[in-house]
């Protein structure tokens, strides 16, 4: 009897969750309909225009559509939201409300202001917008902003570590163990992946720093800005030694000396993992009522490439994957999980106590209804808790020398594209975006 009641309850919750998620533009829509439809829907549905992630998703789609100026405007809107958050009063009533809500009710009561790697990447991607508009100085400003933005994330992370230890202590006083990740948590194994563990930190990526060094060189600002370009390249190499494979030169032959040019190709591919709240429900009081541990989790990345090749008449390059958004997301989750777990245990205990009291007063059905109310209520709050889902999952950079007017061939998975280099320029920058199979776009500027 109790088991059949629980089954019915879980079905109700499942269908409620589906209904809650059907109203917003998600990566699912990008997969089920075409790129242009998704972009138009997202741009016209402004119901979430006070959310950080909304503007980032829109900016990415606009960039992938070649609308670089509007993409810059969308990124700027995201900055305004994040700047407001960073500039809040030391004792902010909103932050306190959000903290209490997420400690007692659900993780989804928090507003999402992005993780360190997302805050870094928004400036990097915006720098690409400026590059594609031939504004190298603007691109350099974004790269400096990228570096500056990390300061607040570090401060915020320190506060989170402090909060986590307080939550752990609270959970310990309630007699709960928060040292072990629940066995049925879907990302438990992924967080122990050697590639995740090998990342230096959760907010600096070699892609951004490599791009930063190239931008500083092209803009001619490297020397004036205290060798920022050289420092960026050193940082990129420290984060991933494979960065050295991103650069290739032609042999120094007098016949080609005056006929060669620099080519920089930047690939942005796929979609990063989408954030979700995973509920691990467990029965209490011999199955009469239930509670749940709700932890942040991620879907798998999608539409990504596994192989990128560049072919010229002189070189064959396989640029290294320098941006690994999925690993950055898992690394962040791994670092934050002790705090999240402790908070979640405190939440589950609070709900379990309330459900037990309902059960004591109104019988098993009362307890079950209380459990159901908590579950559906938190599912509703969690449904709006989203990250930058349309952020690229992978980024590749190659900077090499090629003969002017020669053809460059690019292979992305099974797709091949080619373009001819200009005859009278010092260099060219090519941006290739692969968001969905119906949206492979090549843009370029020369200097």
């Amino acid at each position: 009897m109790k088991h059949s009641m629980l089954k019915v309850t879980f079905r109700i919750i499942f269908f409620s969750s589906l209904l809650l998620q059907a109203s917003v533009v998600t990566t699912n829509q990008l997969h089920s309909s075409n790129f242009q439809t998704t972009l138009a829907t997202l741009a016209s549905d402004t119901s979430d225009n006070n959310k950080f992630w909304y503007w980032l998703n829109l900016a990415r789609l606009q960039q992938a559509n070649g609308d670089f100026t509007t993409s810059i405007q969308s990124f700027e809107k995201a900055y305004v939201i994040l700047d407001e958050y960073e500039d809040r009063a030391t004792i902010s009533l909103r932050n306190i409300g959000s903290f209490l809500g997420s400690s007692l009710m659900s993780k989804g009561s928090e507003s999402y202001y992005g993780k360190g790697y997302e805050r870094t990447l928004m400036h990097t991607l915006n720098a690409l917008n400026y590059l594609m508009l031939n504004n190298f100085e603007g691109a350099a400003v974004e790269m400096r902003r990228m570096e500056q933005r990390q300061e607040f994330w570090l401060k915020e992370s320190e506060e989170k570590i402090k909060e986590a230890s307080e939550e752990k202590e609270k959970a310990r006083r309630q007699g709960n163990d928060t040292t072990h990740i629940p066995a049925n948590y879907s990302l438990a194994a992924m967080l122990e992946d050697p590639d995740v563990k090998a990342l230096t930190n959760n907010y600096q990526d070699p892609f951004s720093y490599t791009l930063g060094s190239i931008i500083m060189d092209i803009s001619g600002q490297s020397a004036a800005s205290g060798n920022f370009g050289e420092i960026s390249l050193k940082r990129a190499l420290a984060l991933n030694p494979d960065v050295s494979k991103a650069f290739a030169t032609l042999p120094n032959s007098p016949s080609i000396q005056n006929n060669k040019m620099d080519v920089t190709i930047i690939f942005l591919t796929g979609e990063a993992p989408a954030l979700k709240i995973e509920k691990i429900r467990f029965p209490i009081l011999h199955g009469a009522v239930y509670s749940s541990i709700d932890l942040p989790s991620y879907t798998s990345p999608s539409n990504d490439t596994s192989n990128v090749t560049i072919l010229t008449d002189k070189l064959k390059l396989q640029p290294p994957r320098l941006l690994k958004s999925d690993l950055m997301a898992y690394k962040t989750l791994k670092d934050e999980l002790p705090g999240e777990l402790a908070k979640s245990v405190v939440r589950a205990t609070t709900k379990a106590i309330a459900a037990k009291q309902a059960s004591d007063h109104f019988g098993n059905l009362g307890g079950l209804v209380a459990s159901l109310v908590f579950d559906v209520g938190s599912s509703y709050a969690d449904s709006g808790f989203r990250n930058w889902e349309m952020m690229p999952n992978s980024g590749y950079i190659a900077k090499f020398e090629a003969i002017k007017k020669s053809t460059v061939n690019i292979k992305l998975n099974n797709t091949q594209e080619s373009f001819v280099l200009p005859s009278d320029k010092k260099g060219t920058i090519v941006l290739i975006t692969y968001l969905t199979p119906d949206n492979i776009r090549i843009d370029h500027v020369s200097y």
């Binding site: 030391t90 902010s92 009533l93 603007g138 350099a140 400003v141 500056q148 600002q221 004036a224």
Partner: protein
């Protein structure tokens, strides 16, 4: 009497409603003092632009290479590099400096590098055998002016501090020698409230 009273009430309510609607729909537009100190945000703003142009132009005009020159030297303004964390239109700084210097009558300006091709095209339309000589004259500057805008940002829980440094240099393009240099420093501090929404 009753009609008059109703009319008064109707007119009164209509007036109030109209005043309310007018108040809601219209924006209060007024002219501001262009020299007034602007502190809307801590970003590089109009007051910074004006004070920078004022102080650096004055300093440049007082330098011996300009003040004691036999005849007004030919100067070309090159770009001022934006090395800050903001998208500052540095052209607005150079434009302001150019106008102030030109008004002084102590220097002559050559076209910007950005506009040089357009000027060349225009000249070539009417150019004759003397074109090359004229083009050379167009390219020969006695000095070039160049510079940088830098910023340093610092913040703690209570205060956000932004320091701007705008520097200009007068360079002899033949020798590469820096003949004059000066800077304008600006510091902006924003306080965070301890308790707030």
């Amino acid at each position: 009497m009753s009609l008059t009273k109703n009319t008064i009430i109707t007119v009164g309510i209509s007036t109030l409603l109209l005043a309310f609607l007018t108040g809601c729909s219209s924006k209060d537009v007024k002219y501001g003092d262009v020299k007034a100190v602007e502190t809307v945000t801590a970003d590089f703003g109009s007051t910074d632009l004006q004070s920078t142009a004022e102080s650096l132009t004055q300093s440049l005009l007082e330098s011996r290479y300009i003040a004691k020159a036999q005849q007004p030297p030919k100067v070309r303004l090159r770009a001022v590099n934006n090395l800050t964390y903001e998208h500052i239109d540095t052209k607005s700084i150079t434009d302001k400096i150019r106008i102030k210097l030109l008004k002084s009558g102590q220097v002559r300006f050559l076209a910007d590098v950005a506009n040089l091709n357009q000027v060349k095209d225009e000249r070539e339309l009417t150019a004759s055998a003397t074109a090359n000589k004229e083009n050379k004259a167009m390219a020969d500057s006695d000095y070039i002016i160049t510079g940088n805008v830098r910023s340093i940002k610092k913040a703690n829980d209570d205060v956000k501090d932004v320091y701007y440094n705008v520097s200009l240099e007068l360079v002899n393009p033949q020798s590469g020698e820096i003949m004059w240099a000066d800077e304008k420093e600006i510091r902006k501090v924003t306080s965070k409230s301890s308790v707030g929404w």
